[in-house]
């Protein structure tokens, strides 16, 4: 089996799917790319059993067949080569693979392609068309709040609620929650699923930033995304997402309205003076008056700032993790935001003041319990 391909084109495609390959895969075959040649088309598959990414590219060949090639070795070779057509020669019996370039010959031992895990096929599913920039925005707006805690698997992905009227993308780690709602993404009927973080991160980095249509199919156990020459299949997280809707407090009479970038800048400065591991800061609110403060008792560091704002509600003191606040505020683009609160031990809601069409963002952050005595 033999084929000729441009080294730079191959490198580009391989780099896109390489992210799937795990550092220490459960099955050694997963350290390989699966190459499938069908005359002039080469299909490359990378998998970690949970996520599969497939890309296709044009090659010169008259053969059909397959081979699994060690990913690291091949990528390192391609990265070191100047752009040129390169020839792959595969021995079908020994799986030995020879790469012939202008610079020389490289021989590496491939693996039997039969051992490569089968890719799940789309079966009985719900299909949704999403524009790439919308999907990209939905991922970017939620993924940072996804939990890293493997003990709570339901929270290690983004919860997607599809409905005929709108679609919700929800992420939480128990301490904060983001609900990103799009009224321009609709499905035929209601359906929900949890898409794992790794798949979304890979998707985010490979999605084009234009309005290319991404065809998304969802079966009961898998999600399929395809755009341009790339396909991605990921296993859904088979867990119950926590009942987040009931966790969103409804009655929040204390409303702080403030310039987002001023608030963000102040939080960043103050958090330098907070404890380095907990980033805990305190907001002291009175009529149209906000004082942000932090202290690190271990080093006797402390700081406070007074900010211009519009505050309507009871006087109160509430503690937050500044890192959470900074991450959330940095992800927003709105000029003004409002922070709605009820009590110092209840969640605070961050809501952008000016909304874009078809987009609705709600961010919720849990406070830290301030010692009322001590």
């Amino acid at each position: 089996m033999k084929f000729v391909v441009s080294s730079s084109v191959l490198l580009k495609q391989l780099s896109t799917v390489n992210g799937v390959i795990a550092n220490n895969p459960i099955v050694p075959i997963l350290e390989n790319f699966l190459f499938q040649i069908d005359q002039t088309q080469l299909t490359v598959t990378a998998s970690d059993l949970q996520t599969v990414m497939i890309t296709t590219l044009a090659v010169e060949s008259s053969d059909t067949g397959a081979i699994a090639i060690p990913a690291r070795l091949l990528l390192d070779t391609l990265r070191g080569l100047p752009d040129q057509p390169i020839t792959f020669k595969v021995d079908r019996d020994t799986f030995g693979t020879e790469i012939i370039t202008e610079n020389g010959r490289y021989k590496l031992s491939g693996e039997n392609p039969i051992d490569f895990p089968k890719v799940p096929q789309v079966t009985k599913s719900l299909s949704v068309q999403i524009s790439a920039d919308i999907l990209g925005a939905a991922i970017a707006n939620t993924i940072f709040a996804v939990s890293n805690d493997d003990l709570r698997p339901a929270m290690t992905g983004v919860y997607v609620q599809l409905s005929p009227e709108y679609t919700n993308f929800v992420a939480t780690d128990g301490h904060r929650l983001i609900r990103y709602k799009r009224s321009d993404v609709k499905s035929e009927y209601d359906s929900t699923m949890i898409i794992p973080r790794k798949a979304l991160n890979l998707l985010k980095s490979s999605l084009p930033s234009d309005d290319t249509t991404v065809t998304s199919d969802f079966s009961s156990s898998n999600a399929f995304f395809s755009f341009n020459n790339i396909r991605m299949i990921c296993r859904l997280i088979d867990e119950r997402f926590p009942d987040y809707e009931n966790a969103i407090p409804q009655n929040n009479p204390n409303v702080l309205t403030i310039n987002r970038s001023e608030f963000l800048g102040s939080l960043k400065r103050i958090s330098i003076y907070s404890n380095k591991t907990t980033h805990q800061i305190r907001l002291k609110l009175a009529k149209n008056d906000l004082v942000i403060s932090a202290e690190d008792l271990d080093y006797s560091n402390e700081a406070n700032e007074r900010l211009m704002c519009d505050y309507d509600g009871d006087e109160m003191e509430i503690g937050f993790n500044a890192k959470f606040m900074v991450e959330m505020l940095s992800n927003l683009t709105s000029n003004m935001i409002s922070l709605e609160m009820s009590q110092p031990n209840r969640a605070g809601l961050i809501i952008p003041a000016d909304k874009k069409a078809d987009e609705d963002i709600l961010m919720l952050v849990m406070p830290v319990m301030l010692n009322t005595y001590a």
Binding site: D149, T172, G174, H175, R176, L177, P242, D243, Y244, A247, N275, T277, T278, Q280, D296, L297, D298, G319, N321, N345, R346, A347, L364, M366, P367, V368, M369, L370, N371, T372, Y373, A374
Partner: protein, 388 residues
Amino acid sequence: MNDKAIVHMDLDSFFVGVEQLRDSQLVGKPVIIGGQSDRGVVSACSYEARKFGVRSAMPMKLARQLCPDAIVLRGDYDAYSSYSKMVTDIITENAPVVEKASIDEFYLDMTGMERFFGTWKFATELRQKVIKETGLSISMGLSINKTVSKVATNEIKPAGQLFIETGNERNFLAPLTVSKIPLIGNVTSQTLRNMGVTHVGTLSQMPLKLLEKTFGKIGKTLWERANGIDFSPVIPFHEQKGMSKEMTFQQDTTDVNLLNNLFISMTEQLCYDLRKSGHCTGCISVKVRYSNFDTHTKQLNIPITSADHVLIKASLDLFQKLYDRRLLIRLIGIRFTKLVRALEQLNLFDNSTKVVPLYDAMDRIRDKYGSDAIGRAVRIDKKNKRIS
């Protein structure tokens, strides 16, 4: 003058000293402080008791055999820490850089002071001031580094002070036995003895390579210490590394119910201490010692918290994983490490918004009426109808 001036101060049999201050009848008598029962250990003893061979960390039973007439006290640790604080206050007020190495030990960095006062004179006056103001006996050593100063203090104890002149460190250390070096414990000194090394002088002349081969990384440090070399700085602030609680049973047990209840009780008490100090923990470990003294520990990293329900669950889980051999247990313990000064981060999906204020309220009751005033029902001792 690049040489440093490091003073080491150590209170002489500190716990006993405090007891003697509080009850003058104890002066001049053999006093042992430690657990009352036969299974307890000696945590401190007076110099009179030491004459009989009593040492700290010795089983109480053995100590009683060695010195049957000794007065055994349980010890009042609150009083010890308040006396320790008095001493700390006096020293920190007068010395530029102070490291509190333990409840009764201090390192002072006096480098540069010689230009104004004369280090030895100043240190002597400080020692006299501590003795005069607290009534406790304290010893000290002065040299160019921590190791030599500490050894000097230990040599001159009790109630003495010793100045090792610069350049004289090796001569001072050479005739001492190797176990006098702070780094060298039972195991290391045994290994050295097997190598034929009994005195520091011999150790200091050994090839560095050989020590590194025998002891690994620590070998180089050993050699340095034996030669009176120690560059470790005096660190003025010591972060609290952990909080722990242990319990030795009167009688070894396999009663899982009892053990679980004890873990709940100990964790609850420790959580109160944790919150009171304004900390959260990021790592919990559980220790089990079997009747044959085999000791096993297991630890778990957790998102930082000080909440009872999270930590109790973690400690019980750890214990369940650790205790799989139906053997008699002699001792159990819990330890919180990775302490950070933090307040409790509330969670959306457990009921922490309700429970955390409850802990807050319970803590206030404990502050007012004592730590046993309120607690989980499993802690109630059915016979006495009290929280144990």
